[in-house]
Symmetry: C2
């Protein structure tokens, strides 16, 4: 049986998971793929810390160059992360004619164009399944299974930390800060959680999914990103009373010559499959013109799930190489570069949830609904709800929650600004999207 | 750009969907795959009925042989169905060196071994993504994305007709017969619905999934199959009261040297993702040793969704062929033939739901619990519930519903038979599995 050599760069959590999986399931994969995948080398600056996996002698090294240029290594697995040395090593691997597997979403979201071009120029494979969705094979599905579809929409819960926090906020009625602290103590959130909770991790993943679906590089700067840091428990509870669950959602939509990509805390109806995705689990719902709605669910992070996808990618390349050559050509392509534009955030049309603290003086309700109407904002439902807690309400104001019919973001923002200026509400309005 | 020719056999619902999709999204696929997929011929005995798609002149033919032996056709798409002429044509295509795409679950479940061997002998690809799950790329995920995993369990809702019937039974409190009739009128059930409602369609799909996951041909005769024809609305309602939803579930489990494959109406906890899969939608939850739980959801049948998967398969083969050769080797393999056995149905251990109509005489409860105990059957919870309707209860008997701790099927069956013989219950007990 033909042997394909693998070198791993980065022996952290995911790296150790990949090494463990490759060693454990080597025979099984050989049986399935008809090729023997051999772990040749693992490089990391730190090769003394116990990673919970027994590596055969002679595999661990601190010398990345010896991995990148080992002629017995066909596939380089980049699991260092970040956009520094990881980028240098990846380009070096591609230029040395090695195929590459990576889970590095930040690198692909920010330098994908350069990296995919290098893979193409060298005629090698680059697989990045684990960059989005951890153990969920969403990249593969989008690239291959749904290849015959025009992708109409993608809605994704792509960050486990945020989903864990939102789940506990809803189920236990706790405020954001308290749950974040608990998540940090439980190891579900980083000491510096901003990449997750401010939505940028989700945005990186959304950029990769949109680039793959539409064939052009989606610039990070064009994605409107709103995290969950300022989300109030009050709105989580009101949403629940209205039959919704708030999720940090990546929204990708195709409109003829434009694509809309954004990240927002979004009200999802309880009857929607995405509402059932709780705790650290991730999911993406993809609507194709032929397939209709399809959903992919699983663990979005973690050692073994991420390793599962990395190893699936290694298996693909190994199978290709065993047949004689890489299968280059199904990575992200730029066929639509310059042909599709990003929709401006202000122009995005959505349903909205709005919470106002309205003066309980007579006429207040009429006053702000008149302002909304003048801006073409149409109210689908409005109700004055019981205050969640007495302290949450300033005296003389009552909470009014509204669901707004599909409206351009800009129109609603202007209307709410005018309502605020009018003095009829007591604090800045809360505006959330509704799926 | 290299052109790859496609010939379609069978211009029925799915065939027309594939033809429409290939014509509509040809440019898009060329852009994504770097190969131009050209529909060359479509054969059917009936080429005059309007199928809702405009086919260019010269494509439609009643002569299948002219498709099978056209040198400009590289890929044959078999959408005739059944195990008769479809099998003949498929073998003829493989032997003529054509790669094949099929959605024919019955043919693969019953003659898969012969067909995969013919593909191997001829060094061509055979793809069968649409044989299970319609628009859900579950076959691809199992074959490729999860290739690095030992598959521990698969639980699937794989028949849209049954799921539609069960959803309406629960939501509207209607009996099976009434909903079946409505489903037939709405076109969601066949005039002869037995293949669906008796569970055999689900069993065909389970056989294919298990064969793929474990590398040996799973004989249909070894699968215990129970459909939903005899399912009482009473149990649907009681299950709901207990926090469960009844689904027709294919269960596939790996135990060392044995694999368990069965099809049963099964109580699924409402908090489980599979419980949220309603109406005609299908889903499969796959647990890998690395990935953990992953779930795939979408439309399990229908013209466009099934075409989506067929076209994804065509795209794969076309991409392979454009690179020089088929990618044979990732179909079902028989590496474990003779090494893994099917677990006998009696030996399968499961949690169970049991409903007994128990005599309301003093001591009856003690009598049957004693019998259960003697057979090692342990009761997790038991309650005497309100009768769903007065007519449903024979005078002198009260409904008792129990959840049973994991027990071998045989032990519970024997215990319940003894309870029935003892005269303490008024009718045959109801026994359902619990996930």
């Amino acid at each position: 049986m033909k042997q394909i050599g693998v070198g791993v760069l980065g022996f952290g959590t995911v790296g150790a998971g990949v090494v463990e999986g490759l060693l454990k399931n080597r025979d099984l994969m050989a049986q399935r793929l008809g090729v023997d995948i051999v772990l040749r080398k693992v490089a990391d600056l730190d090769i003394t810390t116990d990673r919970g996996v027994t590596v055969p002698d002679g595999i661990l090294t601190t010398d990345a160059a010896s991995v990148l240029h080992d002629p017995a290594i066909d596939i380089i697995v980049e699991l260092i992360g970040g956009t520094g040395i990881a980028k240098t090593f990846m380009l070096e691997a591609l230029n040395a004619g090695k195929s590459v597997v990576t889970a590095n979403k930040k690198l692909l979201a920010e330098y994908g164009d350069e990296i995919f071009n290098a893979a193409a120029a060298n005629g090698v494979d680059i697989y990045f399944g684990a960059s989005v969705g951890g153990g969920i094979p969403i990249i593969r599905v989008l690239r291959e299974g749904l290849a015959g579809n025009r992708i109409e929409t993608i809605h994704g819960i792509l960050n486990g930390t945020c989903n864990y926090i939102l789940t506990r906020m809803e189920q236990e009625g706790l405020p954001f800060d308290v749950v974040l602290k608990a998540a940090q103590e439980a190891g579900y959130a980083e000491a510096d959680p901003s990449l997750d909770i401010d939505g940028f991790d989700t945005a990186h993943k959304a950029a990769i999914l949109a680039s793959l679906a539409y064939g052009f590089p989606v610039p990070m700067s064009s994605i409107q990103v709103e995290g969950i840091r300022n989300l109030s428990g009050i709105d989580v509870q009101y949403a629940s009373q209205l039959g919704y669950r708030i999720k940090l959602l990546a929204t990708i939509k195709h409109h003829d010559s434009e694509v809309e990509v954004s990240v927002h805390p979004t009200l999802v109806p309880l009857t929607h499959m995405l509402a059932s995705v709780n705790n650290v689990f991730n999911a993406a719902m993809v609507r194709g013109d032929l397939s209709g709605d399809t959903l992919y669910y699983g663990r979005g992070a973690g050692r073994a799930p991420t390793a599962s996808t990395v190893i699936g990618d290694i298996g693909d390349i190994a199978h290709n190489l065993a047949l004689g050559k890489p299968r280059y050509g199904r990575a992200i392509n730029n066929a639509n570069a310059g042909k599709i534009a990003m929709r401006a955030p202000e122009a995005v049309v959505s349903r909205f949830y709005v919470r106002l603290m309205v003066s309980d003086k007579a006429g207040a309700l009429g006053q702000f609904t008149t302002i909304l109407g003048r801006h073409g904002v149409s109210i689908q439902a409005a109700s004055q709800l019981e205050p969640i807690s007495p302290e949450a309400v300033s005296s003389g104001f009552v909470p009014v929650v509204m669901l707004i019919h599909p409206t351009p973001d800009a129109a609603l923002s202007e209307a709410l600004e005018e309502v605020l200026q009018s003095g009829v509400i007591g604090e800045k309005p809360v505006k959330l999207r509704v799926l």
